[in-house]
Subunit: 153 residues, 2 copies
DNA sequence: TGATGGGTTGATATTTTATAACAATCAGGG
DNA sequence: CCCTGATTGTTATAAAATATCAACCCATCA
């Protein structure tokens, strides 16, 4: 269950438009394939595996091969339009692609919905912890498993 | 490079003894296989993959099959003697097996050494963030990538 | 024009990581 | 000893990701 009902088509559309715009700014190539893969990642509005993307991408045409999908995903991750959820081997669209970052997520163990946290304070605490332990911070993944509000009711 | 030089044999030995003791308390079975796998996980004192464990375990005897290793690792993770590092598909011995928890790690991108953080404050901040976002906290993984003190020099 | 070169995609094969399913063995209680 | 449940062995397969090389696209410029 999604946290809030919303027009998901619009939601996808705005993600695609944002990506397009950012790529123009950065002069990187938002090719039809990359656009289509980003659309498919958003289509589920939940974590989606590379092979699920592959299946969707292959519908109504010759089956594509894994590298096609992985390369597109690599690009989208590199640009910050998609995050990889390590604990699920799955991918999810970024809720704030304008600002490059690694994602901090909460994952509902009942419904599999994922919420991205864009909280600077949390980010700062993590950076600080790294520093205190003598590490020069590069990036981090945080994946919290729990039960979401909807699923508790 | 390890942060501090130490007698690694002793280090392994004490991890094994601690595990043995905990299993006696819990009345779970610390079989020779499970003991051996835990020993191998500790032997590297760095994240080790399941198949590396498999190779080591197979030395000087008939090659064991993957399920043998994965089942032992499952047990050790369940008991809290080993953590899985999601971003590396690898496993590492827990530095504080007496208190069950999921691990929070820093991973050096130069030397691959891993430091486990057993900081309650960090744990509390993460729990708090989950609560604020409407989630009932179950557990979490945190994996910070950075450069360790040794590797900066 | 058409050669050149970088970036992208296609295609084939393989590697790496993990699990399913069932048989054999072991350890403890009656 | 026999039964039972847990553990381990064995075979096969699934799932996730990558290596490699060929084909294609397209902008630049000789
Ligand atoms: Zn994001
Ligand atoms: Zn839920
Ligand atoms: Zn630990
Ligand atoms: Zn290092």
């Amino acid at each position: 269950m999604l946290k809030h009902k919303h027009n998901h088509d619009e939601c996808i559309e705005s993600a695609l438009e944002a990506a397009q715009k950012i790529c123009e700014e950065r002069e990187t190539r938002f090719t039809p394939l990359r656009r289509r893969v980003l659309e498919l990642v958003w289509s589920k509005h939940q974590p989606i595996t590379a092979y699920e993307v592959l299946d969707l991408l292959s519908e109504g045409q010759k089956r594509v091969a894994p590298p096609t999908v992985y390369r597109a995903l690599d690009f989208l991750i590199e640009e910050g339009f998609v995050h990889r959820i390590e604990s699920l081997n799955a991918f999810v669209g970024c809720s704030d692609p304008a600002h490059k970052h690694q994602g901090h997520f909460m994952i509902c163990t009942k419904c599999s919905n994922v919420t991205e946290m864009n909280e600077k304070s949390l980010h700062d605490v993590i950076k600080k912890a790294a520093k205190e332990n003598g590490y020069t911070y590069e990036n981090s993944i945080l994946e919290i498993a729990g039960v979401c509000e909807n699923c508790r009711n």
